[in-house]
């Protein structure tokens, strides 16, 4: 692996062969960012549940798309994409309309029901632990977006807590290299299809 990484495109990758549906990433995320009840920035889904040999699980959150549909559809233009590819949004601009939820292929945008008469609040989603537009590591940033671990040189909370290291995050090229290395070191070649997250 190269040591000269420029982090041009930060991505998540979850290895479905390693994920054991422990939901540690979900809990770690909620705990670290003090995410309100009813909102999950990350979720674990399982298919073929109970079928021996076919059951697989995946941890999912915002995929920080390069051409993010949420950014395209947002009427207030509250989304912005950092130079390292992390998709963030400005809660001061968000009006909670929910268009991003309709446009997102992954169901990443979440809305607390804290408006009057149960109406939607402002959108909340995975920030890849990179905070938001407020001053870095300020109280306001933590209150609105949670921890800014990226600014401290740390990996996102979900990945750091993943017990099987199924969940990887980093530059897309580096993540791909790790995936290749793992598969190659097992002596089986790349045995699973790469689904892109």
């Amino acid at each position: 692996m190269s040591n000269n990484v420029d982090f041009s495109r930060m991505k998540f990758y979850c290895d479905e062969n390693l994920c054991i549906d422990c939901n540690g990433c979900v809990v770690a995320c909620k705990e670290a960012h003090e995410v309100p009840v009813g909102v999950n920035r990350r979720k674990v889904i399982t298919v073929n549940e109970g079928i021996v040999g076919k059951e697989i699980s995946l941890s999912m959150a915002c995929m920080h798309c390069a051409d993010a549909p949420c950014q395209q559809v947002c009427p207030t233009d509250c989304f912005y994409i950092r130079t390292d590819g992390i998709v963030l949004h400005d809660k001061d601009k968000c009006i909670g309309c929910g268009y991003c939820l309709f446009a997102c292929p992954f169901g990443a945008p979440q809305f607390p029901k804290n408006g009057a008469f149960g109406t939607k609040g402002k959108m909340d989603k995975c920030t890849m632990c990179a905070g938001g537009p407020e001053e870095t590591n300020s109280h306001e940033e933590f209150h609105k977006y949670g921890q800014n671990r990226i600014s401290e040189g740390k990996v996102p909370m979900c990945e750091s807590m993943c017990s099987t290291k199924a969940l990887l995050v980093g530059d897309a090229n580096e993540v791909a290299l790790i995936k290749t290395y793992r598969a190659a070191s097992q002596g089986k070649g790349i045995t699973t299809e790469s689904y892109g997250w």
Partner: protein, 319 residues
């Protein structure tokens, strides 16, 4: 062509259908990015099976099963159109209303304003009871609020979001809920055609006097149908609030509902603007009557003889 020909009697319906058909065809064929086959099958699937998740056929691979469970199926069927239309609404929808207002200006230039010759302004006839006026004005205020707060959402690029647009968005949802009983009452009191079938004292009290001319009947039908579409879709979009785990089961249905909401809002606004022009701009003296409930007898004789005849008929029956 004679006045009593089929075409003359039904030209309002024919032109409306042709106009909507033409605009609809151009829009559907050349502008929208929608998988119509999927949408049709999905609609039938929802109606016949009650299953909202959009999975029309069982997955034939682990990958498809994963996509269905994680994201919901057929993202490319409806979502791209939502993205396209979102930009379009912000940039181009102004022109729909500019075009409609331009048509009204041309009509006003050609036809001018109908005015009744009033020689005895003290001879007044009550057309709208207090109940009628309350329903009508509540509808006016609520629809104006819904239009303003609705455009606050779609045109937020201009306001750049923030606290006030956020509050207005919540107001849109709450006002929509309040509109339901008011829309229902308006649909009942404006259902003039029921008098063709039922004639009793309750109907006479509840329903507005007069008969519908074809264009007004179209506006009434659009108000009822599109109002129902707006209220149902709006309520379901609000009520169906998926969390992260339930998102894949509901999101396709919400996307389809959003389209019902958009389509209904465009149609109802177009015809309501038509109604406002034909009632308040093209005819003088109607606004005052809507406030007081009374019109000079000569106004009704000259401009709304069907209303006067209906009222006289009711009075005759009571006497």
């Amino acid at each position: 062509m004679e006045n009593s020909s089929f075409f003359e009697r039904n030209k309002a319906y024919i032109f409306t259908l042709l106009g909507l058909g033409l605009v609809g065809f151009v829009f559907v064929k050349f502008m929208m990015i929608m998988d119509w086959e999927y949408l049709f099958k999905y609609t039938m699937h929802v109606i016949t099976g009650g299953n909202l998740d959009g999975v029309l056929t069982p997955p034939d691979s682990t990958y498809k099963a994963m996509v269905d469970k994680a994201f919901g199926p057929n993202y490319e069927a409806i979502a791209p159109e939502i993205i396209r239309a979102s930009n379009e609404r912000q940039l181009f929808i102004w022109w729909v209303f500019v075009a409609e207002i331009a048509i009204f200006c041309v009509m006003y230039t050609i036809s001018g304003r109908k005015t009744a010759v009033i020689t005895n302004p003290n001879d007044q006839v009550e057309v709208f009871s207090l109940f009628h006026r309350a329903i009508i004005w509540l509808n006016v205020f609520i629809v104006i609020t819904l239009v303003i707060t609705g455009f606050n959402i779609t045109w937020s690029l201009r306001s750049e979001g923030g606290y006030i647009p956020f509050i207005l968005r919540g107001t849109h949802e709450i006002t929509g809920l309040i509109w339901f009983p008011i829309w229902l009452l308006m649909s009942i009191i404006a259902f003039k055609d029921i008098k063709l079938i039922l004639k009793n004292s309750l109907i006479n009290k509840l329903v507005l006097p007069g008969k519908y001319k074809p264009m007004k009947r179209i506006i009434f039908l659009v108000f009822v149908m599109m109002g129902a579409g707006l209220l149902t879709s709006g309520f379901l979009i609000w009520y169906l609030h998926p969390d992260a785990y339930a998102n894949a089961q509901i999101i396709q249905f919400k996307r389809a509902l959003l389209y019902v909401h958009f389509g209904s809002s465009v149609l109802i606004m177009f015809f309501l603007m038509d109604f406002v022009y034909s009632v308040l701009v093209a005819v003088k003296g109607n606004l005052k009557g809507l406030i007081t409930g009374k019109y000079p007898r000569e106004h009704l004789e000259q401009l709304a003889p069907d209303v006067l005849a209906d009222i006289e008929n009711k009075k005759g029956k009571m006497a």
